[in-house]
Point group: C2
Chain length 338, copies 2
């Protein structure tokens, strides 16, 4: 299968021990924690490590410690999302950076198709990683059940509908964030406030709609509510539907910035001015929000805190603690579109 293998000249812990004039055990102790090692031995070991260029073999360490020292970042969404919606990139980048500081590498895996899901599931069950960061908005994916059954620590991003209390997660306070936005639109004097929601099988789809209803009550009539799928095209389609059903609307709360960008295009094409005729509010405060024309008023998700919490919750579970949840506050960011 492989070609001729080069003679491995990598120094082992034996070489370091010999160079330092101590035993393997002392070298190991000196490098891991350093308890019960005399200053003289410690110095000799460190010097020997420097001269030999020794680096511990991760496979050998994993074999005995039963720890992979790595975690998986699993995306169950269609892969296209990874590069259309900046949210996923931000989450990935945040988690990677957070974990890199702890010297824990991140394995990127996808599970959007049946084949991929099986592969990923088998891979994780093989013990290749110590834990899983699961980014999956849609519910009903059997991967979460499989992971839970295999007993591996998991942290979801966003409330895992149907698994609350069983699976750890970190999420923004979607409902309260939606309330902030709709109240803001009202305070601007808007009375016919429509909404474009996320898919009803996602926490963002459910919670942000609930926040919208909290504020509008009976004013939240069915003609003012259209469903999107978090894609730009979905936002365009939903906005078209809304204009058709309620041409007199004077504001739209859109459940994601990407969909809001699509909605802005449709509003522009219909001849309406934003915000003069129609105010538009987004959700996420992703990089898109500042590049639309006009710049988007939106609800900032604290992504940095979310990724930090995801990592913390995962490491806690790896240490043996039970799964917990973290819900983080959002912030209204007012720009030119409202």
């Amino acid at each position: 299968m492989s070609g001729n293998r080069a003679p491995r000249n990598r120094p082992t812990i034996h070489d370091v021990a010999a160079a330092a004039g101590v035993s393997r055990g002392t070298v190991s102790r000196a490098l891991n924690g350093g308890r019960n090692v005399s200053p003289a031995a410690l110095e000799a070991v460190l010097k020997a490590v420097r001269t030999t260029g020794y680096v511990a073999n991760p496979a050998a360490r994993s074999l005995v410690t039963q720890r992979a020292h790595s975690v998986a970042f699993v995306l169950t969404e269609p892969q296209q999302r990874l590069f259309e919606d900046p949210n996923f990139s931000i989450l990935l980048q945040g988690c990677t950076q957070e974990l890199a500081e702890l010297d824990v590498p991140v394995l990127l895996m996808t599970a959007s198709t049946e084949v991929e899901r099986k592969r990923t599931s088998r891979f994780i069950a093989a013990g290749h990683v110590d834990g899983v960061l699961l980014v999956s908005s849609h519910t009903g994916n059997p991967l979460l059940d499989e992971l839970r059954d295999s007993g591996i620590p998991v942290v979801a991003c966003g409330k895992p509908i149907g698994h609350e209390g069983q699976v750890a997660y970190a999420a923004a306070d979607d409902r309260s964030g939606a309330r902030q936005m709709v109240e803001h639109l009202r305070s601007r004097g808007r009375r016919r406030i429509a909404t474009i929601t996320g898919p009803p099988d996602t926490p963002g789809g459910v919670e942000r709609l609930a926040g919208y209803r909290d504020v509008l009550g009976a004013d939240a009539t069915a003609d003012l509510i259209a469903h999107g799928d978090y894609s730009r095209a979905g936002g365009e389609a939903a906005m078209t539907t809304l204009l058709d059903r309620a041409p007199d609307l004077d504001a739209v709360f859109v459940a994601s910035d990407l969909m809001a960008a699509g909605a802005l295009n449709v509003l522009h094409d219909s001849g309406r001015r934003v915000p003069d005729d129609v105010a538009v509010g987004g959700f996420d405060d992703s990089s898109i929000a500042t590049s639309t024309r006009p710049a988007l008023t939106t609800v900032r998700q604290p992504f940095q805190r979310i990724t930090r919490e995801m990592v913390r919750l995962l490491l806690e579970q790896i240490q043996g603690e039970p799964p917990a949840a973290s819900i983080l506050p959002t912030e209204l960011v007012v720009r030119a579109s409202t």
Copy 2:
């Protein structure tokens, strides 16, 4: 350091051997390749694997095979790029998918700061991965030298300036692509064709400018050339400079779609119509190209082929073959902006 460890109930190859009534060696042979195994033994092993739920321990396997069975995807750019510029996401997604089919996971690592570079370098030197996919446009990063010295297989994305012939790489034919675009602009009757380049220490910055000069010759005067940094803001700044220096320009070839999006905004704000007053051509054909107004004429980079070649070149090197290069053709995509 860790809590109380659960009693490992994971079945080992011993358990499978016992259940199948054969020896460990036979199980190993049956699962790897299956040469010299009797049909009866093979079936017994497969059945035992099913009943026990056995999955090979990757650490133990790596320890003996001296292979990590994983590769690293290393990004040396500022991290912000990962989620602002869709190109990186596409490369990452493509490589991940390509490798997933071979059951090779991808470790995502960054090396934008000094600390990160050292960490990544040390990590790779530890033998945690079999090879490196290096996405680094800027030259002069010492990581490439470090990796080469450590003898690990590396494939760069884009020609590694100053390392040609030493490091394998896959890249689009930037120069020829730029020629295609500038010739297209000329064929539309444009005569004052400006360009916004990439940074001069990147292959795209150098080659695409060279292609522009190939076509324009003496018409490529200095006032028509502005430098960008592949960011949207950089595109805006460069476009502003160009309009200031050459207000009579009637076309711009921009070395990336993201910068072109920025340029479009500036042109719009200056009251110019695209393409009536100024034609705009981009480069990449990233997802941005279809979401600008008007949609962007651009040069398509064959990202799928690039990632496929990167993976192929890497696997080849891991098998012991010398580093090679792959240069792939581009394609002009005409939309509304020219």
